[in-house]
Amino acid sequence: MSVVELAPSDLVAAPEGRVVTSARVRGMGAFLLALAAIMVLAFGAGVPSDAKATFLLSAPPAIGLAPLVMPVRWVSIALAVVCAGLGAALLVRARPRGSYLTFGAGVTVFIWALLAWAARGNTLNFEQMLAETLVSATPLVYGALSGVMCERSGVVNIAIEGQFLAGAFLGAMIGSATGVLWAGVVAGAVAGAIFGALLAFLALRYGADQIIVGVVIVAFCTGLTNFLTEQVLTPYQATLNSPSTFSPAGIPLLDKIPILGPVLFYQNVFVYGAAVLLVVVQVALFQTRWGLRARAVSEHPRAAETVGIHVLSVRYRNVILGGVIAGIGGASFTIGSIGEFSADMTAGLGYVALAAMIFGRWRPFGALGAALLFGFSISLQSFLAVLNVGIPSPFLSMTPYVITIAVVSGLVGRVRPPAADGVPYSRE
């Protein structure tokens, strides 16, 4: 008989609903030990003892810092010792509390060694890597916030990818045609709102399956933007598909801070907008009347109805607002960085954003953490490709998606969605 004997103290049902078993904690510990072994063998013993890696740590307008030059072998071995120590601590103590923090520290140490190894005999612009992490994470933050808005009212929004595309397309077109970038932002928001409203209408008015409606909207947006790109944008590229982009603007003094200054405080409006939106949604969701009602509707709509809350109105409002947010996030793809729309340019990042929301436990700041993780993996794969580490670049570019699959399939612990998430509501 294989019964898992568990004492109640082995389980911590965190307030957010994540259940961590001591077996999982031990698994994390073993994983860190394996990483430490890789670090010693591949990054330590596997490189010439005189190999050096250089990390650039400064960019304008921050106060300059000297580049960091490291002997790869010895740094890797030192970091391996740290990683092994953390792994051993998890194995021996096997306590859930703080286990994710310890695990995260171990993985960070591993990535440091990996970068040192990849940049051996070469120079890595670490500062730029961090900046690109933030840039890559920005649309994910918008997408995840859109998901939070919808699912915290009980509607699953799997159409974020479609709303991204629609926002990116219309943002580029209007931004280009009018020459006013802010008009592009508004256009992106409108495009997202239209498809949010469509999702809400089909899901709430007709009780259609939300997953299927969402997938159909993505397919529709993909097809429509592809067609219009070919028929409209390409022939009139110069007028309709050549918007400029928002340029970075520094926040005085803060952007002078070494390392973090340029990363956090020398960015464009989309990044600052995401930061503001994060705080607004987080506070609104957990501190205001609107948030309390939305969460009630996502957890137990009938209970909300019996105290006089109009379930469907709350859902319509949240889903349309969620569409607005995703549409702005979409616009950031074109008028935030690249400066033109091309077919399928969002490359499934709408789904990655949804995964970030789940990994972030349906909380804005949790989603931010997840978005930064995914953003870092996107930036990491592009830098590793440049450094030519010997892994074929198609494999490297899978990194963000592999992490997404791992996250969604529950590798990182079970999470509890809102109880009525995705369930149509009717009164009788």
Partner: protein, 526 residues
């Protein structure tokens, strides 16, 4: 506040749930609405609370006609409702649940949690409703959740409080505490409309009583004017027997032996905790307990419906180890199962009565030959069973979903008792049934016992447990806290249901000591 319902009529398709119902609740009175399941009580209350709209009739508050389009309207007119299934958000705190929809806010819609807490503390003190505003509702016992529901209505200044079957999930002690609260509410000038099908409670708490039957008002009375028998016949429409007639048990050798059984749920928490229990041939062991204390999981482990890797310990049938046996092997070995939720687990609703009657043996002679079903035999067998088990249906070819709850349950009983049965496991066998069907099901269960079958009954209705059981096992938090004779006082069993262990020292009366409470938890591992 005086509340009048006049001529309320509501039909769902051909079914008339409420037919010209009149009901008047005076200020400061406790008014009981008594009726069987399906008599139309809940429909009437949902109309009063704005969840359904009546086809005809009107609602008057202090003489003025009102129209409720949604519950919000009803709440604004001073009507509060405690639903049978609590309307609480499990992951919210008590305070969040209470103020939901009625939130005190500061500027920009920010919640004023301090004021919410203060309001709740004041009202809990006034009416003796003890709750912690910062506790999460999902961590509270059912009795406390009910107090939260009552507070929710009081915060909105409810003058008429509707309680829909409020005692179904309570221990006798919690029920007594609820009655105290009800009286203090009435004393403060509020009215309470108490909906139930339990006669004892009506007589204990009501000022006036309205009895409903088949959607109509069947009579009005007061506790002073009538006793249980009168109320029962008014509710059912004929004389009913309130007690189950049965001879003393003649227990034979043990049929079911459960030892050191532990079941964990999906999260790894123990829901059945080292339980040991014997059921002998020719006796009924009734498992009592407040819902959710592991009885369901115990029954499922015995019938084989739990994943094997969540079960440890041993289950034996006539000495044979069946802990790892599949449900099919168990039913072939002679276990019959009347499941708790007949619509989900007992029947395939869209299929015909005849097919449902052979779900267990459809692939065996005479219902199948060489892998092909013998449909003529199935049909003929169905017709016979309709007669034999008094199933009221014009044909066995109708979908089982067209039957009433009582007749659906008879289909389950008919199927399960048509096999050679050594052990009958019956979970909540009469939940939601009319009095006639309850009598019938009880008689069949006792008849099985008299035939020499071992019977394990699980019920959260204390009346049923005491009426059927030859021995009563009380469960609390997954453990059997004691096994006592059915002559034990309700108060003592109530205490045991609340976790106070008293069973062991009283012994098990005429029952053999093998299944005594002292053994619970120290059984031998296989």
């Amino acid at each position: 506040m005086k509340l009048e319902l006049a001529g309320i009529t509501k039909a769902f398709g051909p079914l008339v749930a409420n037919d010209r119902v009149d009901l008047t609740v005076e200020e400061g009175e406790v008014h009981c609405l008594l009726g069987e399941n399906g008599a139309g009580k809940t429909t009437l209350m949902n109309i009063l609370f704005g969840l359904f709209r009546a086809d005809a009739g009107e609602i008057r508050v202090d003489g003025e006609t009102v129209h409720f389009r949604d519950p919000g309207d009803a709440v604004r007119k001073g009507i509060g409702m405690v639903h049978q299934h609590f309307m609480l958000v499990p992951v919210f705190t008590v305070a969040e649940n209470i103020v939901l929809g009625f939130e005190p806010v500061r500027r920009f819609g920010f919640l004023d949690r301090r004021r919410a807490r203060a309001d709740i503390r004041r009202l809990s003190k006034e009416f003796g409703l003890d709750v912690d505003p910062d506790a999460r509702v999902e961590n509270l016992p059912v009795g406390a959740q009910q107090r939260v529901e009552i507070l929710k209505a009081l915060v909105r200044d409810a003058q008429v409080l509707i309680l829909d079957e409020p005692t179904a999930v309570l221990t006798p002690q919690e029920t007594e505490a609820l009655f105290k609260i009800i009286r203090s509410l009435a004393a403060s000038g509020r009215s309470v409309l108490f909906i139930t099908h339990k006669l004892k409670e009506v007589l204990a708490v009501a000022d006036r009583i309205t009895v409903m039957r088949l959607g109509r008002v069947a009579g009005r009375t007061t506790p002073a004017e009538s006793g249980e028998a009168e109320l029962a016949s008014m509710m059912v429409g004929r004389e009913v027997e309130l007690v189950v007639n049965k001879k003393p048990a003649e227990p034979g050798p043990p049929v079911l032996e459960v030892s050191d059984l532990t079941v964990v749920d999906e999260r790894g928490l123990k829901v059945v905790d080292h339980v040991s229990l014997d059921v002998r041939a020719g006796e009924i062991v009734a498992v009592a307990g407040v819902q959710g204390n592991g009885q369901t999981e115990l029954a499922q482990a015995v019938t084989g419906l739990t994943d094997h890797d969540r079960v440890s310990g041993s289950v034996r049938l006539e000495g044979r180890e069946i802990t790892q046996a599949s449900p099919r092997q168990r039913l072939r070995a002679g276990i019959a199962n009347i499941p708790e939720d007949r619509q989900a687990d007992g029947l395939v609703l869209p299929m015909t009565i005849a097919d449902n009657l052979v779900l267990d043996v459809y692939d065996q002679a005479p219902y199948a030959r060489l892998g092909a079903r013998n449909l003529a035999r199935v049909r003929a067998g169905g017709q016979e069973k309709l007669k034999e088990f008094d199933i009221r249906a014009s044909s066995a070819e109708l979908p089982v979903s067209t039957l009433s709850g009582g007749n659906q349950q008879k289909v389950v009983v008919a199927r399960e008792l048509s096999r050679p049965v050594k052990l009958l496991v019956a979970s909540q066998p009469t939940r939601g049934l009319d009095v006639g069907s309850i009598e019938y099901v009880h008689r069949r269960i006792v008849a099985e016992r008299d035939r020499g079958c071992a019977v394990l009954v699980v019920s959260s209705e204390l009346d049923e447990v005491l009426a059927l059981g030859d021995r009563v096992a009380v469960m609390y938090r997954g453990r059997i806290v004691g096994i006592v004779p059915p002559t034990t006082s309700r108060e003592q069993i109530g205490l045991m249901m609340a976790g106070v262990d008293q069973g062991a020292k009283d012994g098990a009366g005429e029952a053999p000591p093998a299944g005594d409470g002292e053994r619970a938890g120290d059984g031998d591992r296989p």
